[in-house]
């Protein structure tokens, strides 16, 4: 079992390659330029007719421009994956990487937009000012709890889908994996006792989504750095003022008013979802042993899970998942966010609701079930390409059912369209390399 990060070699290559290629993404034309005369169509004077039409009917911007396939990846750089508050410029390489995944796995044109803003109000105002250019916004790497307020505000105040991957992405993919873990251990989401270890953006969003999906809030327990969250805790008023999302969960969850730490929270729990801080010794074997038989343990901290999966299994966990690709059952956002946006863009959705995320999670879970669930296969992996258009179709259909889509499209049309766009995106990438237009990396 791997126990070390191969970080150094990747770091050296990342610096060398980034300098060599001058960044990871760029724009490319999608129309033929047969001669310079074509610019009279694509640009002035021809373009004026298109602009006039859109000025009369803004919705046409989704048909006559690439807005329908364009999203902005917005961040203030305050909580960059594994790096903390490194500022907007520092976050740019990460946002470029995200844009690359969006293009390669979802066929989505994503523009990295790190912004220098002070506080929630400025962030919200800036995001709203970008709406005319975008078909959606992916919020990325924003510190908690302001990320909750930004997502909540933008969802309410904008007419394009807003997605915060650290919240909906992680919650959605966790739910997908959980559906199948529960199926394998003969459980039902509605009656399972779920303990969430860590109360950052990921687990707060996961708890909310699980409740929305039917989990019993009263049987759910959240644990943060101060111990078990409960309505009687001394810091409740501080939470009310500083993190009302956590405050609401403290009121809703833990009906039994369990107090103490993780050990108390895991007593007779069916499921552990850990999204705390990197381990590997954050959770002890004895704590897992307190869980019910056939326990489910998701150990999602990166780069090192809260405890090593084989330790969790030895302590009695029947199903174990992590956030890492070198262990089985990788709970990986990358299978969800490109597909989710592919789907909402294809129906020109106005928002992404929680029930749309649940529909995506259900489809993802179904896709794995059809391949045959095993202890070591509860969720599709990165090689299961067919899951991407399936999830796109599921979320696109749900958007239409909820009246949130600008366009009526059948599931089959979304699926085929999404598959074609994703396939084309990959083919273009491969072709550019084969033809030498994208040169091989330096030695």
């Amino acid at each position: 079992m791997p126990s070390k990060e191969p970080g150094d070699e990747y770091s050296r290559k990342a610096i060398r390659y980034s300098a060599f290629y001058g960044g990871k993404i760029g724009t490319a034309p999608k129309v033929p330029i047969r001669s310079l005369d074509d610019f009279s169509i694509w640009y002035t004077p021809g373009v004026a007719a298109v602009s006039r039409a859109i000025a009369k009917n803004r919705e046409l911007s989704f048909e006559y421009t690439n807005r329908w396939n364009t999203i902005g990846i917005l961040t203030d750089g305050t909580r960059v994956l594994g790096l903390g508050n490194i500022g907007p410029e520092g976050s740019l390489p990460v946002m470029e990487g995200k844009a690359l995944i969006y293009k390669y796995l979802g066929g989505v044109d994503a523009i990295p937009i790190p912004i220098r803003v002070d506080g929630v109000e400025q962030f919200v105002a800036t995001a709203k000012s970008l709406e005319p250019a975008l078909g959606g916004i992916n919020l990325e790497d924003i510190a908690s709890p302001k990320c909750f307020e930004i997502l909540e505000r933008l969802r309410k105040e904008m007419s394009i889908p807003i997605w915060h991957d650290d919240q909906q992405g992680t919650a959605g993919v966790t739910l997908a994996a959980l559906y199948n873990a529960l199926e394998l251990t003969d459980r039902d989401l509605r009656t399972s006792k779920i303990t969430l270890f860590g109360s950052g953006a990921a687990n707060i969003a996961t708890a909310k989504l699980l409740i929305e999906a039917g989990a019993d809030a009263g049987e759910m327990i959240l644990v943060d750095s101060k111990g078990v969250l409960n309505a009687e805790r001394d810091d409740m008023d501080q939470l009310l003022l500083r993190n009302r999302w956590k405050y609401e969960l403290a009121l809703k969850t833990n009906e039994a008013r369990v107090k103490g730490g993780l050990a108390e929270a895991l007593r007779n729990a069916d499921v552990l979802i850990a999204a705390a801080t990197p381990g590997p010794n954050l959770i002890k074997k004895q704590e897992i042993a307190r869980m019910n038989k056939r326990a489910v343990a998701f150990l999602l901290a990166n780069p090192i899970p809260e405890m090593w999966p084989d330790d969790a299994a030895a302590a009695g966990a029947e199903i174990v998942a992590t956030g890492r690709s070198d262990f089985p059952n990788q709970v990986n956002n990358s299978l969800l966010f490109p597909a989710a946006f592919r789907g909402v863009l294809d129906v020109r959705a106005k928002t992404i609701t929680d029930s749309m995320v649940i529909a995506a999670a259900q489809e993802m879970a179904k896709s794995a079930r059809e391949k045959g669930l095993r202890k070591n296969y509860i969720i599709p992996d990165m090689l299961d390409w067919e899951v991407l258009p399936r999830v796109a179709a599921a979320i696109g259909m749900q958007a239409q059912r909820e009246g949130q889509a600008r366009k009526k499209v059948s599931s089959d049309v979304i699926y085929k369209g999404a598959k074609k766009l994703i396939d084309t995106s990959r083919k273009i990438s491969q072709l550019l390399v084969q033809r030498g237009i994208i040169p091989a990396p330096p030695p």
Partner: protein, 159 residues
């Protein structure tokens, strides 16, 4: 589940009521550094409540479920000397435990407190809390209260 009762505080309520006072003072601390809570706040809260129970001009009521105290209201009757109406009942503390909020308990306690203060001679009611406490501002505004006095503060320690 047992019924919630709103009643005068008794000696046996003091210890648990003091916990609510401490929680409230710590909540105030969130709004302004000039509300920094002292180190021995628990001891002082107990003394504060004990003196309140013994005072003729003070109202101290609690909301209880069995032995558990869920809410507390303290108010004092004051003479305004120069102004009419002359007698005012000033609510100095109103705190409800988070688990008991959103169930009209705050309103019920306020009405109970106002009734008592009126019986004692109060012709108007005021409420004191940190200026930044928007939740309290909304609570009282919703019930017909309006801003009456400004208290401006400036720290002079060590200057």
């Amino acid at each position: 589940m047992q019924r919630i009762t709103i009643r005068d505080a008794r000696g046996e309520d003091l210890r648990e009521s003091a916990r609510l006072v401490v929680r409230m003072k710590r909540l105030n601390e969130e709004f302004d550094p000039l509300y920094k809570v002292v180190g021995d706040v628990e001891k002082r809260a107990l003394k504060y409540l004990r003196e309140s129970i013994g005072s003729k001009n003070t109202v101290l009521i609690v909301a209880s479920r069995g032995k558990r105290i869920l809410g507390l209201l303290r108010a004092v009757l004051e003479d305004r000397v120069f102004y009419e109406p002359l007698m005012t009942g000033t609510i100095t503390d109103l705190y409800i435990l988070p688990e008991a909020r959103r169930k009209t308990m705050g309103n019920d306690m306020l009405q109970h407190g106002i009734k008592k203060l009126k019986r004692m001679g109060a012709e108007m009611i005021t409420a004191e809390f940190p200026a930044q406490n928007e939740i309290a501002v909304r609570f009282y505004h919703k019930r017909g209260f309006r801003a009456l006095v400004n208290i401006l503060a400036k720290e002079e320690m060590g200057q």
